[in-house]
Amino acid sequence: MKQSKKTPIALIVLLLAASLIVPNVGGEQLEVQIATRTDLFPIPNIILPSQGFATVMLALMLAMTALSVYLTFVRNKKTPLIAVIAFSFGLIMAVLAWLFSGATMTFTTLLAGSLALAVPLIFGSLSGALSERVGIINIAIEGQLLAGAFTSALVASVTDSVLLGILAAMIAGALVASILAVFSIKYLVDQIITGVVINVLIIGLTSFLFSTLLADNISLLNQPPRFERISIPLLGQIPVIGPVLFNQTLIVYLMYLAVAGVFLALFKTRWGLRLRSVGEYPKASDTVGINVFRTRYMSVMIGGALAGLGGSFFTLGQVGAFGKEMTNGAGYIALAALIFGRWNPVYAAMAALLFGFALNLQYALQIVGSPLPSEFLLMLPYVLTVVAVAGLVGKVKGPAAAGKPYVKS
């Protein structure tokens, strides 16, 4: 069998793009600020010659591309993941050098913001993982996020409680998931179509309620309390790591728990073993006495609850109010992260972080005033998604029974 040529080709294309950028890196130097106010000890800013730094990164990318070409075409071997990661690092650094040259790049804040922005993506991809691992394709993540965002804003505003808000968001997410579950498990409707229809439905429903209900009673119905930043003592003061990981809001800490929890549950428990068996070969699960239908309903709905929780980030975390269609395609990016992460919650979370970084970069650049038009920057996360899924993921196989309804004779 021949190795897939996708990886080296993707790398060559990206390398060419980067080599167009690097000569254009203007400005004398790039100032990188790592320290934040809460650090235990001060760290001076790093000053790099921007052109030189970009060139070094280009060289790194060139080396990785050459390695990949050599391995694929001469040795007929797979490109190791570490080479792809090194390449991506080089690419990101080169692009950063180009964009931030002459300005100060607040590196740590950039990372912390990326993590926060990745929150709904990560919760969304967990929903996808739970659903697809049990054999139900989940296009409805977008709808689940949006329902969570809307409900949490409404309930938190009325009750003035963040906790009740996220609880309501989880219920809303689970309800949306239950529509997906019933149509695909009971009525055997095509799962992709069901998912798309659900998204359209939820967008319509929330927009309608927003204009008829929330818009007129903003102070009562759409002014929820927001997540507060909670700094974890000591851990939060470690430079870089502290501000990025341990000086975040409640929902970020919940996200850590959720990623670890879903990973452990899927791969280390009886529950997860059964769930995955249903997603691979439901008939085999049936023959050992596992209730295929119940397993599917449960898993899809738990996933929906998690996505709903993630949706509350938009209203209670980021914006502070509900807005029409405010999830803005995050559900689809979460789906891409899931596939990029090969249906593994931990890898999917890492992929989502990458997308979160792209999102945040776009905000950061608008602030420093970048050489790129902002419309182009808005494309960034999506371009990254396409390149990542098409080029770098390679051949992946999802759960074998995903999308296939189970029918008993």
Binding site: S277, A284, T287, V288
Partner: protein
């Protein structure tokens, strides 16, 4: 324990697969169920196991009428089943597959992986299997997967055990071992229902024999009946159990394999400098215990084996390094060893499966348009000539009985213009009547003047069908002999003891 099936009727739509069937399985007894492909044996067992719901009749356990809403309840009642089609999850390990449904756990529902491994090892050693609990099932040869199925059925300590054609994928040695295991289980007081098409096995272990045809019980037979008697009772006519063929009319050696060496993904040598030639008009049988490189040899020829070197020439053209499509297009007919995995698309109809790799050319396509009329005509013909028992050409492949699925693959591969035919265990899972037919077809292919390569694990099939018999052992061809070589001689070669 005494299990009684009384008047079981099962319909699929308006088709009656089981019609008022009675059957009794008693503790300490092996009850053989015989019947043609599509007779309804698996259906009956699936009803008994709670996988299908019967349309009539009842299951009586120790005198009490029982109803199983699902396999879980059947398992709890002490029924275990080895399914004809593996109920294994390919991406799971052996241990995970074995414990699925009754997992040993630690607090909080965490899997006790060590205990799972222990269980696999314990049962393996009780029955003399050698299985790595951490191996991924999809990577294992079918013979080993079959053992995993058996371990799975035994783990829940069932009192009634159903074996649905377990020996179809086993080598003669493995079959003997399984017979031994069944006797051991019988002595432990279990009730056993055993389905097979191999009459030798029936005569060897059966205490009782029930024969069904077209969904109905046609009668009981005795283990002392002759093979011919059993065969004709099953099929409803006289069956010729030997292969009839004229002396080979040999042409030039148009298929040549030279110095073929291949490695497994983990780096083991699976083919070791294999060379042979097959002449036009010759059936060249490759015999040997499964797992000695036959699969890899067949896959190398087809072009799906990794890391191969050497040369494979058909009519002077090199096949090695070509894509599967190119290989098939150059006139290679291929019957894979795992028909459900590699031979058929389960969700496609019989008609679609019959054209599968030829959907882009006449007579099935004109430009980009499918010629459905031609296809349906063709499929109708094949259904008849291969005696595929299905309601129509629009039945889905996964609704066919095991043997009929095999016939669909054979019908497709044998009905093109071939320059070479390669078949791995072409009669696996077929009833005696169908075996007779398939053997005739293979001999006809040979007499049409093409080289034929058959991979066989059954000694009888190897010697009856072959014009020459090669024996493979540990990736090497250790001898090429004439088909009238003594059984013992062949057995020794297969065990790696060279003469």
């Amino acid at each position: 324990m005494r299990l009684e099936l009384k008047g079981i009727t099962k319909k699929f739509g308006d088709f009656t697969a089981n019609d008022q069937i009675d059957l009794v399985a008693e503790s300490g007894e092996i009850h053989c169920l015989l019947g043609e492909n599509g007779a309804g044996k698996s259906t009956l067992m699936n009803v008994l196991y709670g996988l299908y719901q019967a349309d009539g009749g009842e299951v009586i356990l120790d005198g009490k009428p029982t109803k199983f809403a699902g396999p879980g309840e059947a398992m709890k009642a002490g029924i275990g089943m080895v399914h004809q089609h593996f109920m294994l999850i390919p991406v799971f390990t052996v241990a995970e597959n074995v414990i699925l449904g009754h997992e040993p756990t630690k607090p909080l529902g965490f899997l006790d992986v060590e205990k799972a491994r222990e269980l696999v090892r314990e049962i393996s050693s009780r029955f003399g299997f050698d299985i790595d609990p951490d191996a991924v099932v999809g990577d294992l040869p079918v013979g080993v997967q079959q053992r995993v199925e058996i371990i799975k059925a035994l783990i829940s300590d069932a009192q009634v055990l159903i074996f649905d054609e377990p020996t179809a994928v086993l080598t003669p040695q493995e079959t003997d071992e399984l017979m031994e295991i069944m006797r051991q289980l019988k002595d432990e007081g279990k009730a056993i229902v055993f389905i097979t098409h191999k009459l030798r096995e029936v005569k060897e272990v059966a205490d009782k024999i029930t024969v069904i045809r077209l969904g109905k019980v046609v009668g009981q037979a005795k283990p002392s009946d002759t093979t011919e008697q059993l065969a004709s009772m099953m099929v409803g006519r006289e069956v010729d159990l030997s292969v009839n063929k004229d002396p080979a009319n040999l042409g030039e050696a148009s298929f040549q394999v030279q110095n073929l060496t291949a490695f497994s993904p983990s780096g083991n040598k699976v083919l070791d400098d294999v060379s042979f030639e097959v002449q036009r008009g010759e059936i060249f049988v490759i015999a040997g215990v499964q797992g000695n490189g036959q699969t890899e040899l067949a896959e190398s020829i087809l072009g799906i084996q990794d890391k191969v070197s050497g040369s494979i020439k058909l009519e002077g053209k090199e096949l090695l390094g070509k894509s599967v499509k190119k290989v098939l297009d150059s006139g290679v007919g291929f019957v894979p060893e795992d028909r459900t995995e590699d031979g058929l698309v389960a969700d496609f109809t019989i008609a679609e499966n019959l054209m599968l790799d030829r959907s882009d050319r006449p007579p099935f396509a004109k430009g980009i348009q499918l010629q459905l009329k031609n296809l349906h005509e063709f499929a109708g013909q094949k259904l008849k000539s291969f005696d595929i028992r299905a309601r129509s050409i629009f039945s889905k492949a996964n609704q066919l009985s095991g043997g009929n699925q095999q016939k669909v693959v054979l019908a497709r591969e044998l009905s093109r213009d071939l320059k070479l035919l390669i078949a791995s265990q072409p009669t696996r899972g077929l009833d005696v009547g169908s075996i007779e037919f398939v053997h005739e077809q293979i001999v006809a292919a040979r007499d049409s003047g093409i080289p034929v390569v058959i991979i066989a694990t059954e000694l009888d099939e190897a010697t009856q069908l072959g014009d020459r018999v090669a024996v493979m052992y540990k990736g090497k061809i250790v001898g090429v002999v004439s088909p009238d070589t003594q059984r013992e001689e062949l057995g020794k070669l297969m065990a790696g003891i060279s003469a």
